[in-house]
């Protein structure tokens, strides 16, 4: 067994045992994480493997969700399919709409493709509230999970296991897809479309095919969300959902199959964990995405791969100071940034401004943050994030220098080794 297999087995076992350790709220968060992971993985098939950037993937997610909810409500509420098979309706809904949208959007490639997917998603978002019979208007559509196969699906845990089973199945299928000839052709679509066409493949048909597969699995993810929430609303078509899947996928890393899954589950988990603490989570997510794009284009998964590579090049002992410095820099910059953003958010909020203007003396009342009272007028308040950010930047510079020294030492070692071998220089 390879280490990867052991790791995967461990993750699956941990996921199976999870509900017995967690509160219902956390189990719900775990369901959201699984769904986000599947959605990101479906998206990765299109953007990472086929190289087609879609900015409107919420449309297929939403179509899957609405197909599922109508399937649940069909035949007087008994449902078209038994509850565990409901996401199949999502697959069909997402896939069917994916075929329609994919036919148009894959007529163009690159930038045009990205714009068309965005426009189709906006078209659906604009049209959905007007089609009350289909999308339920502002109120949305709701349904109930029916008992099936000896399960009542009344508890969160049963829904969790259902979601886990579906996500595990779909991720396996998506992985196996990459090993098929069609999966190889998908990579060809990204690398060199002209050559594929020259070899006699119908690239438009192929692109539609990949698009439909991606939309289908997005639809399954949407269906799972509906099975879990028992409701769907046209808000599912919102541009924000399309944006978050792009962000999650690229933060996780788009070069490895596990990258998007990692990114989506981490981001969803943090989103859940900090939702009570901050109102600016989306800003952090966006900032993280921009940082990833600029400094580590292969994402978090790429970062782990890079560290592994460096370890075998420089040795663990030489790398530890670098990792510590980089971690310290990351923590300081993150802390400083978060402090500044939270302080600004509280300072600029409507409540606080109203409070300050009611204060006749013209002084600023203190702001409570991280269990301390800070006065916005005192320079010390703003010195804290400034110091943290500067210190973080300093550590980052040190880390870079350390890495450069490692590379130099390796080069000089290699030069010395080459010089000591007689005859090689000649």
């Amino acid at each position: 067994m390879k280490p990867v297999h052991i790791l995967l087995l461990g993750i699956v076992l941990a996921l199976l045992a999870l509900p017995s350790f967690l509160t219902p709220g956390l189990v719900n968060a775990a369901i959201q994480m699984l769904i986000a992971a599947l959605f990101a993985s479906a998206y990765y098939l299109l953007c990472g493997q086929a190289g087609m950037l879609s900015f409107g993937h919420a449309a297929y997610f939403g179509m899957g969700a609405f197909a599922t909810i109508h399937a649940m409500n069909a035949i007087g509420g008994t449902g078209l399919l038994p509850t565990p098979l409901m996401p199949l309706a999502g697959a069909i809904g997402g896939g069917a709409f994916g075929f329609f949208a994919g036919y148009f959007s894959t007529k163009r490639t690159g930038t045009y493709f990205a714009m068309i997917t965005l426009a189709i998603a906006e078209l659906v978002h604009a049209l959905a509230p007007h089609l009350k019979a289909l999308f339920g208007g502002e109120a949305g559509v709701s349904a109930t999970r029916m008992p099936a196969w000896g399960f009542t699906f009344g508890s969160t845990n049963e829904v969790y296991y259902l979601t886990l089973a579906w996500v595990a199945l779909c991720l396996t299928l998506l992985y196996l897809y990459t090993r098929t000839p069609l999966g190889r052709l998908t990579l060809g679509l990204r690398e060199n479309t002209h050559r594929l066409r020259f070899l006699g493949y119908n690239t438009h048909g192929l692109a539609i095919c990949v698009f439909v597969v991606s939309a289908m699995f997005s639809g399954v993810a949407g269906g799972l969300l509906v099975v879990s929430n028992e409701a769907a609303n046209y808000v599912l078509f919102d541009a924000h959902l399309s944006a978050s899947v792009v962000l999650n996928t690229y933060i996780g890393g788009v070069r490895v199959f596990l990258g998007p899954i990692l990114g989506a589950s981490l981001m969803t988990f943090f989103g859940y964990a900090v939702s009570d603490l901050t109102q600016s989570w989306l800003l952090y997510q966006g900032a993280l995405f921009v940082l990833v794009m600029m400094y580590m284009p292969n994402g978090l998964a790429g970062l782990f791969g890079q560290i592994g590579q460096w370890r075998s090049r420089f040795g663990l002992a030489a790398l530890i100071p670098f990792v510590l410095l980089a971690l310290g820099a990351g923590l300081l910059v993150g802390g400083g940034g978060a402090f500044a953003i939270e302080m600004l958010q509280r300072f600029l909020s409507q409540d606080y401004q109203a409070l300050a203007s009611a204060n006749a003396a013209g002084t600023w009342p203190p702001i409570r943050l991280f269990k301390h009272d800070w006065s916005p007028a005192a320079p010390g308040t703003w010195l804290v994030p400034a110091t943290l950010l500067t210190a973080g930047a300093g550590l980052a510079v040190l880390a870079r220098q350390w890495l450069r020294r490692l590379v130099q030492r390796e080069e000089s070692n290699r030069a010395a080794a080459e010089a000591s071998v007689p005859g090689d220089a000649a």
Binding site: L53, F55, K107, R108, A126, L131, V246, L283, M293, L348
Partner: protein, 313 residues
């Protein structure tokens, strides 16, 4: 008939506004090959900056200064963000600008709140230019159209009649050759990016006062601008102009049409059937005004995939 005239005029003004934003986008795309997703965010920033400045330096001062600040933001984005990731390719640049647009929207929400701000046209400009069939036509719309026109005459003259213009055009056409002849091409790129951003900022500063200024305006207009460049053909200024006016007019006209597809079926005596089917068939044209440009885009993609005036390939 008066209704038609007013609608067409409104549509043309809206179209000119769209053109003001999409022209910068097309210019930048032609030059760097990258679609700037954050371009509509510059439009939004223009409106918000003008709103903040208006209280200090008055409306006209704000209209002048806001685009300059937005242009500076554009220069920073090009110099310190886009140029860094250029080595990773166009898709990466597109994603970076996408992330930036997301971040700009969130920052705007942080500083100004997630609701429309009270940015209005000043009282001195709030009068009727002329009356059409008893209805006053606001002078501010005329002004918006005028600003857009004036801007374009200026840009056109700058590009075709001056030395700077010829260097810019050569840098767009053959960047390596222009560089070999001793021109600082990265500087030209930075400049054009800044000017494009400033143009979008100007459009925002002028239009934000008339339409609403809210954190969603970038996305709303941005999507429309993308439709414009797909319909017109990316990289073609003429196509952008044609598509902008077309989409502006169609949107403005369809808002006023109180009919649905079932009326069409009524001509064949099938109204009962159509109303029974419901859904799309009974949807009023006026309530789908926002979606008609998208439908037009899909139609164009079917019959002329490279856009109205775009080059093939």
């Amino acid at each position: 008939m008066d209704w038609l005239l007013v609608s067409v005029m409104n549509g043309v003004v809206y179209g000119l506004l769209l053109f003001m934003v999409s022209a910068g986008l097309t210019l930048i795309f032609g030059m760097m090959g990258v679609l700037n997703f954050a371009h509509a965010s510059f439009y939004m920033l223009g409106a918000y900056f003008a709103f903040s400045l208006q209280a200090r330096i008055g409306f006209w001062g704000a209209i002048l200064v806001a685009p300059i600040i937005v242009g500076a933001v554009g220069v920073v984005v090009e110099r310190y963000f886009l140029r860094r990731v250029h080595q990773y390719g166009h898709a990466h640049e597109l994603l970076l600008t996408f992330g930036l647009s997301f971040m700009i929207a969130e920052l705007v929400k942080l500083f100004y709140g997630n609701y429309p701000v009270n940015y209005r046209i000043p009282g001195s400009l709030d009068f009727a230019a002329f009356a059409v069939g008893g209805l006053d036509y606001p002078a501010y719309r005329v002004l918006m159209g005028g600003v857009a026109m004036a801007m374009f005459v200026l840009i056109y003259l700058l590009l075709t009649r001056t030395r700077v213009g010829i260097i810019v055009r050569s840098a767009i056409y053959k960047p390596r050759m222009a560089e070999a002849l001793g021109h600082n091409v990265p500087l030209v790129f930075m400049g054009v990016f800044g000017v494009g951003a400033a143009l979008a900022g100007l459009a925002g500063a002028v239009a934000g006062a008339f339409y609403t200024t809210n954190p969603n305006m970038a996305l709303e207009l941005g999507v429309m601008v993308f439709v414009v460049v797909v319909v017109g053909g990316l990289g073609s200024l003429g196509g952008a102009m044609l598509a902008s006016i077309l989409i502006g007019t169609i949107t403005s006209l369809s808002v006023g049409i109180d009919a649905s597809l079932s009326d069409l079926f009524a001509l064949f005596g099938a109204r009962q059937w159509a109303e029974g089917v419901g859904g799309l068939l009974t949807l009023k044209v006026s309530s789908t005004a926002g979606t008609i440009p998208f439908a037009l885009m899909l139609l164009i993609l079917l019959v002329r995939p490279h856009g109205l005036l775009g080059e093939k390939g």
